[in-house]
């Protein structure tokens, strides 16, 4: 593992190009968000920032975005766990097909997902019609946002839980069973603690993606201010009104809140891993994504 005399060439050009590209394409553009806010001649004073953020319509949009993303990630977590479990543990016909199609939300452009979900859940749509008759209105309400975000979040959960279930050593379950544990006890004591950190990662990824999601949401949301307007849409609205300061303030806040939440979840995960480090060794590779 320790390789003091690395004879491979190309370290400097490879690292140099990586840093230059990353700076030009990602870091410098992203840093404008901070500098626009902090610069002395900036569009934004601290008081101005507070005024923008404390605006009622802005606060409503934050509430809608975060609550919908939270609820959708929670539902995706449950459904995603069940899907991962059935795909790993049960024998199903056409399993490869089902497994492959899980990634559809990754591959399908969000605008396409948006229009098809909107037409399915619209009051005259294939799913919307029976739901409307039962008294549930989904499209053009906050519920529509949740539906779109479940679609977006599902593969994150399945793809983080699936490898952990595959790696899970079944001999523990066998041992527990032979000592008389019930299936439910085995789930509570063995399966759940092992899967929990990965589930948390999947949840966090689905949530983070959901908060920022735009394309799949705007068609189904109805976009009513105070009710079903999400923060990304409000950013675009402000931009279209040439309110650069407002758009920057919202984007920066969203970025900071997402980072803070992901940081908290990462710390929780680190504590969990430290507690059960041997059991969870295969997880290390899964956790890498969150910043």
């Amino acid at each position: 593992m320790v390789n003091k005399t690395n004879i491979l060439p190309g370290f400097k050009p490879a690292l140099g190009f990586t840093l230059l590209y990353l700076a030009l394409v990602v870091l410098i553009p992203l840093s404008t968000l901070v500098f626009k806010t902090l610069a002395p001649d900036s569009l934004l004073t601290w008081q101005g920032y507070l005024d923008i953020i404390s605006n009622e319509r802005v606060q409503a949009a934050f509430r809608v975005s975060f609550l919908a993303a939270l609820l959708a990630a929670a539902i995706a977590l449950v459904l995603g766990f069940v899907i991962a479990w059935t795909l790993v543990r049960y024998s199903l016909p056409a399993k490869r097909f089902f497994d492959a199609i899980i990634d559809l939300p990754f591959a399908l452009p969000t605008a396409v997902a948006g229009i098809v979900l909107a037409s399915l859940y619209a009051p005259n749509g294939l799913i919307g019609k029976p739901l409307t008759e039962l008294g549930f209105k989904v499209a053009f309400t906050p519920a529509g946002i949740v539906v779109a975000l479940i679609f977006i979040g599902l593969p994150f959960v399945v793809r983080t839980i699936e490898p952990v279930l595959q790696e899970l050593d079944t001999s523990m379950e066998e041992a527990a069973s032979s000592m008389g544990a019930s299936r439910w006890q085995i789930f509570q004591r063995i399966i759940f603690p092992n899967v929990f950190p990965a589930a948390l990662t999947g949840f966090a990824m689905a949530f983070a993606r959901g908060v920022g999601e735009y394309g799949s949401v705007i068609f189904i949301a109805g976009n009513m201010p105070y009710v079903s307007e999400i923060v990304p849409l409000l950013i675009i609205t402000k931009l279209e009104q040439y309110d650069y300061a407002g758009a920057t303030a919202l984007a920066l806040t969203m970025l900071l809140v997402s980072f803070a939440l992901l940081l908290i979840i990462n710390v929780v995960q680190m504590l969990l891993r430290r507690r059960t480090s041997e059991m969870l060794a295969p997880l290390a590779s899964v956790v890498a994504i969150t910043p």
């Binding site: 229009i115 069973s177 990304p232 650069y244």
Partner: protein, 287 residues
């Protein structure tokens, strides 16, 4: 035989649990994934082939297709070179700040697409940092192809790197060191040893990157200005036609992007399988 039976019993959930979990997961896959997929094509062909073909041969649709292909043609090679360079540096060498660099490469994943577009408007827009300079020199970035390319480069930045870094880390340096110590040059080693070993993973990253480059909506929507026939990519054309209540037009354009998504999924499964086969066949000779 006896232990085998016990194993079976230990791992089997009760029948009712099994059936209800299978029902829940098939219903979820059916309602959330399969039904939307099928609906796109049903809606696209709702008024027959003729109408479908007319919608797609509309000049604005054709311009959108051309622009989308052009943006992907520019972005995918750049992201691929970046992915290769960063994977070579990160997976082959030890240096300080490596994990920070890995985190920074992943950064675009945690930024909202709308924010990704916004930052380029802040830099190059009329009121942006370089706005005045660009206007004086008659260069247009925002509301032009350049802006769309920049936003797409930002969004797709991690796609190839993320596939290659873990793959090359798992492979280890031994084969390349052997080639070098036998007298091969750096480039020869890369082309003859590294590339054959990572080819499936690399292709997989390129396929995912391409799908995102062609399908990106939020970031592109902010910088494009939605000028029909000029700065509308295919996803933006979908939005435009949908908002004009032209459902067949919107779903016809969407069907092209859906075919792209399905091809991406098929290639992904195939490439994952190839990669698996390659690493399985390599494993025994190493140990």
């Amino acid at each position: 035989m006896n232990t085998h039976k016990l194993t079976k019993v230990a791992l089997n959930d009760p029948v009712w649990v099994r059936y209800s979990l299978i029902a829940v997961s098939l219903a979820t896959i059916g309602l959330f994934l399969l039904l939307p997929l099928v609906t796109i094509f049903i809606e696209a062909f709702a008024k027959g082939w003729q109408k479908y073909a007319t919608e797609l041969s509309d000049p604005n649709a054709l311009a959108a297709i051309r622009l989308t292909l052009w943006v992907a043609f520019l972005c995918v090679p750049l992201t691929t070179v970046f992915g290769l360079a960063s994977a070579w540096a990160i997976a082959r060498f030890e240096f300080r700040g490596k994990s920070l660099l890995t985190t920074l490469i992943d950064l675009p994943f945690s930024v909202s697409p709308v924010t990704a577009g916004l930052i380029f408007v802040l830099l190059f827009g009329a009121q942006g940092w370089f706005g005045e300079w660009l206007r004086d020199h008659d260069i247009k970035i925002i509301f032009a192809t350049t802006g769309i390319v920049l936003a797409t480069l930002f969004i797709t930045c991690p796609f190839v790197a993320r596939e290659l870094i873990p793959l090359m880390q798992e492979m280890g340096n031994e084969e390349e060191e052997a080639a070098l110590s036998l007298g091969a040059s750096g480039w020869t080693t890369f082309w003859r040893v590294t590339l054959p070993n990572i080819k499936w993973g690399l292709l997989y990253g390129v396929v995912l990157c391409n799908a995102r480059a062609m399908g990106e909506f939020g970031a592109v929507s902010v910088v494009s200005g939605h000028i029909q026939g000029l700065t509308n990519t295919l996803p933006l054309h979908v939005e435009n036609t949908y908002n004009e209540y032209n459902a067949v037009g919107a779903f016809a354009a969407a069907s092209l992007l859906t075919v792209l998504a399905v091809v991406t999924l098929v290639l992904k499964s195939f490439l994952e399988w190839q990669q698996q086969r390659d690493s399985d066949s390599r494993a025994p000779s190493e140990h």
